[in-house]
């Protein structure tokens, strides 16, 4: 039993640290404004953390007695750690530095009793820890029947999907009211349909033997599974109906997501297919946007029509991709990352300082909207311009998705994969590595340019600050979160990364903190992304071995 004591302090310290962090970050204060079953949510969260700590510590212990002791020790440690810190914040001068921590919160956490409260908090923690230990000692839930019910893969998927809709809907309704809940559920439902369609399609729809007998069509051809087809249909309907049913806000969020999907698909070609780590991808987005802006805004005196400016912007972006690629693509992976990152910064610095061309910090205004037959298309057919952008971007996304799917299954795609898996081998079998890298870079730049051009038009004015490094990082993260190398993954990643924080605006101030923590967490528990492509696409075999020095270009 004594052996369980020391190891149990570790989860205690971790949990105490986590509790301190959410207090210091002001999350407890913010969440305490809501109540759940009469208890303030913030304090509840702290309690939950301590409970989890006790559970975790107890799970590692053997024997019922040891479990309870481990839970107790862990909870006590966590409670004491938190209590000590709370006392520390009462040292004169400390709480002023912690802008989010009000003395009242500290008092409340210490039960308004100062040092005595600290002791009480530690005891309270110990109690919660024991409770966690009890939970860990309970026999495992009889989940067998559930598994039996959901035995078939399809049924399980559908059950999970419905359940998640219910939970998310209730949660959102509870937190933010009905409107957000409906939006949220619909977004999620669409998403799940996309997912589910894919997942169902990937289950063997025909007995394997039957499939072997059937004639195989061309290499890249996919079989048309009725389930997949149905999903596509539903998705199309949703896509067409949804923007009409919802207002400005939904359309704004969904077009933002769409623009990020465009960029994500482009970066997916560069990183996911060709394995080139580009940290300055925003540069091409910016070039596309500025090309559209400069060509079409009356400020520059060129004033080209949107439809003419769009392909020019894509071309300019693509050409700059090639031009940047020529010197840097011979470099090794990590160097490529830093050089592209630098390139992104350089473009931003230029956009800030080349005032004659870009307007400097004032940006470019009055960027053209798409017109048709001398008339503002947007006012002619649609209630608000965002609605038109929705369809425009949706069309763009579908086209780009089809193009990139075809690229992957083409000769070019196979060359990329070979190159990504092992560059030396690829070279040895006669693949012109630099040329294919250039191609990937250029295609990625064209897609980003498309996104940028549409973005500029939708925004109507653009500023250098629209094109910071954080955009590059967001796009990279959504590609990776979605699952590198997979088109579906990019869509899911964009929704997860762009739409959810937008919808959860109320938590805005904690958005980035949570996002950062989630990225780390995700890399630890699911590094392959939410919807990974079939094989290990993250990188070549050489890089799987930590002992091996990085592969050379």
């Amino acid at each position: 039993m004594r052996a369980a004591l020391l190891p149990a302090t570790r989860p205690g310290l971790v949990g105490g640290g986590a509790a301190i962090a959410i207090v210091v970050l002001g999350m407890v204060t913010a969440l305490n404004e809501r109540e759940l079953a009469g208890l303030p949510v913030g304090n509840l969260l702290v309690g939950l953390i301590v409970l989890a700590v006790g559970y975790r510590a107890a799970r590692d212990a053997v024997g019922a007695g040891s479990r309870l002791v481990a839970g107790l020790v862990a909870g006590l440690t966590a409670g004491a750690f938190l209590a000590l810190f709370m006392l520390f914040t009462r040292v004169p001068g400390v709480s002023e530095k912690l802008v989010q921590t009000e003395p009242e919160d500290t008092d409340a956490i210490l039960f308004g009793m100062g040092a005595g409260g600290a002791a009480l908090l530690a005891v309270f923690g110990a109690g919660l820890g024991v409770l966690g230990g009890v939970l860990a000692s309970l026999p495992a839930l009889p989940t067998g029947w559930l598994r039996a019910v959901a035995g078939s893969g399809r049924l399980r998927l559908i059950l999970v999907a419905l359940l998640s809709l219910l939970i998310v809907g209730l949660a959102l309704a509870f937190l933010f009211g009905l409107v957000v809940a409906v939006v949220g559920v619909i977004v999620l439902a669409g998403l799940e349909l996309a997912l589910l369609g894919g997942a169902l399609a990937s289950l063997p729809p025909l007995p394997a033997r039957l499939r072997q007998v059937l004639p195989k069509s061309g290499a890249g051809r996919r079989r048309l599974d009725p389930v997949a087809l149905l999903t596509l249909l539903i998705m199309a309907v949703v896509l067409i109906v949804v923007p009409m049913a919802f207002g400005q806000y939904f359309n704004h969020v969904s077009t933002t997501v769409g623009i990020f999907v465009l960029m994500g698909l482009g970066l997916n070609v560069v990183v996911g297919y060709a394995g080139l780590l580009d940290l300055g991808y925003v540069a091409f987005f910016a070039i596309g946007a500025y090309a559209m802006a400069i060509l079409s805004s009356p400020e520059q005196g060129i004033e080209v029509n949107f439809w003419l400016a769009l392909p020019i912007a894509m071309a300019v972006s693509g050409i700059s991709g090639t031009l940047l690629g020529i010197p840097v693509l011979r470099m090794r992976g990590d160097y490529l990352a830093i050089v592209t990152l630098g390139f992104g910064e350089i473009i931003r610095i230029f956009s800030q300082n080349l005032t004659d061309l870009t307007g400097g910090p004032q940006g470019v205004r009055d960027i053209a909207r798409p017109e048709l037959a001398e008339q503002e298309f947007t006012t002619l057919l649609f209630a608000n311009p965002q609605q038109f952008y929705f369809y425009l971007i949706a069309t763009g996304v579908v086209l780009v998705a089809i193009i990139s799917a075809h690229l992957l299954s083409s000769r070019i795609g196979r060359a990329w994969v070979a190159m990504r898996e092992d560059e030396d081998v690829a070279r040895a079998i006669g693949i012109r590595v630099v040329r294919y890298k250039l191609l990937a870079f250029t295609i990625g730049a064209v897609f980003a340019g498309l996104g940028g051009a549409i973005f500029a038009s939708r925004q109507n004015s653009i500023f250098p600050n629209d094109f910071t490094l954080i955009v590059s990082i967001n796009v990279l993260c959504l590609v990776i979160i979605g699952g590198m190398g997979s088109v579906r993954g990019v869509v899911v990643g964009s929704v997860a990364l762009i739409a959810l924080p937008e919808i959860l605006r109320e938590l805005a101030e904690f958005r980035l903190v949570t996002f950062g923590a989630l990225l780390v967490f995700m890399m630890i528990v699911r590094p392959q992304g939410l919807l990974p492509a079939g094989r290990s696409l993250v990188s070549g075999p050489a890089s799987l071995d930590i002992a091996a020095p990085p592969a050379e270009a």
């Binding site: 160097y335 980035l512 903190v513 989630l518 993250v538």
Partner: protein
């Protein structure tokens, strides 16, 4: 496997010595020419040049200290510790809080030198704690994962730390009260040239630290173990080296240097915010790559090279200083084109002829 990096050095477009010589002569010639020209044309006098030279050296010393952290970690794990700049920022913050407390309590007036020492120790300790936690929480579970995975985790950690600092300490600029500190506030006048005391402190401290670091890496038991781990982890284990512990200590060492650099920047720039880690971190990483990442002397050379380029470049070519970041990255691209593994080549080991 062990010989790969030596072949890199050899397969480079130029040999190291030839390249460094050509580069040195070229830069020297251009600078000398522009020096003469600007003085002759009375654009600016030699004192401007000397002032910027010293600024460049001080800036370069800071870059070098930060770059060493990147290089040590890269040398041993082949990963870019993207959150290194945030470690620096938190060190600078901790230094600020301690300095602030010592002013309020009157300790600063009681013993100025001791206060400065304590501020440095506080900044470095907090940086070490953050760096070590970072390794344990965000990187160690990912050992052996494909290369992009720890990179993304590092990016996440960087975003987390930066915004956590913003949340916890607020967005307001925190003023390092350097002018109140006798000994750090003023400067020395050498003829026409005025040199801030903080610049002198930075250079002296940085150079002492770097000498100590080189000795540590080359001579100490820990340094040798670190180089062994960098080269071959399983074999290092066979020698009885606890690889995890060495990696953790390497993070601690790099973070210590970052914390020191953070406090230096705080004193020198007289302010900190949650953003102060970002640009220096980026620049220092550039410096590390410039010098040849994984290479200890390379990181130092790269740091000074970059610092000087940023301060002398605009002086020499009359470029607006808004473009100094363009100079930094432009240089990086140029040098990597000719020397794909950086100025000194890559390796975490002792330099020998």
């Amino acid at each position: 496997m062990a010989t790969t990096s030596t072949t890199v050095g050899r397969s480079a477009a130029f040999s190291k010595r030839a390249f460094l010589t050509i580069l040195g002569v070229l830069i020297g010639a251009v600078l000398a020419f522009r020096l003469g020209q600007t003085i002759y044309d009375q654009v600016w006098g030699p004192e401007v040049w000397i002032r910027n030279l010293i600024n460049g050296l001080a800036l370069g010393a800071v870059y070098a200290l930060i770059a060493l952290g990147y290089t040590l970690v890269y040398g041993i794990l082949f990963m870019i510790n993207f959150a290194h700049g945030e470690v620096l920022m938190l060190g600078a913050m901790a230094g600020f809080f301690v300095l602030d407390a010592s002013i309020n309590s009157g300790f600063l007036d009681y013993n100025t030198l001791l206060t400065i020492v304590i501020v440095f120790i506080a900044g470095m300790s907090v940086a070490v704690v953050v760096g070590v936690l970072l390794e344990r929480i965000a990187y160690r579970p990912l050992r052996g994962a494909p290369r992009l995975v720890p990179l993304i985790s590092a990016i996440g950690a960087s975003i987390f730390l930066q915004n956590a600092a913003l949340q916890a300490f607020g967005a307001n600029v925190k003023i390092y009260p350097t002018p109140q500190i006798t000994g750090l506030s003023g400067g020395q006048r050498f003829g026409d040239v005025f040199v801030a005391n903080t610049s002198i402190m930075i250079m002296v401290l940085a150079i002492i630290t770097m000498v100590a670091l080189v000795l540590l890496v080359n001579r100490s038991r820990f340094g040798k173990a670190m180089r062994a781990v960098a080269e071959d982890k399983p074999t290092a284990q066979l020698m009885g080296i606890d690889v995890n512990r060495i990696i953790l200590l390497t993070f601690a060492l790099g973070s210590l240097l970052a914390g020191m650099a953070g406090v230096m920047l705080g004193f020198h720039n007289r302010q900190v915010t949650h953003m102060v880690g970002f640009m220096p971190g980026l620049k220092a990483f550039t410096a590390a790559v410039l010098g040849g990442i994984g290479n200890v002397p390379g990181a130092m050379l790269g740091g000074f090279f970059l610092g000087l380029a940023e301060s002398l470049g605009p002086t020499a070519f009359q470029i607006p200083s808004a473009y100094k970041d363009v100079i930094a990255f432009g240089l990086l691209v140029l040098i990597l084109i000719f020397r794909p593994t950086g100025l000194m080549g890559e390796r975490l080991s002792r330099e020998r002829a």
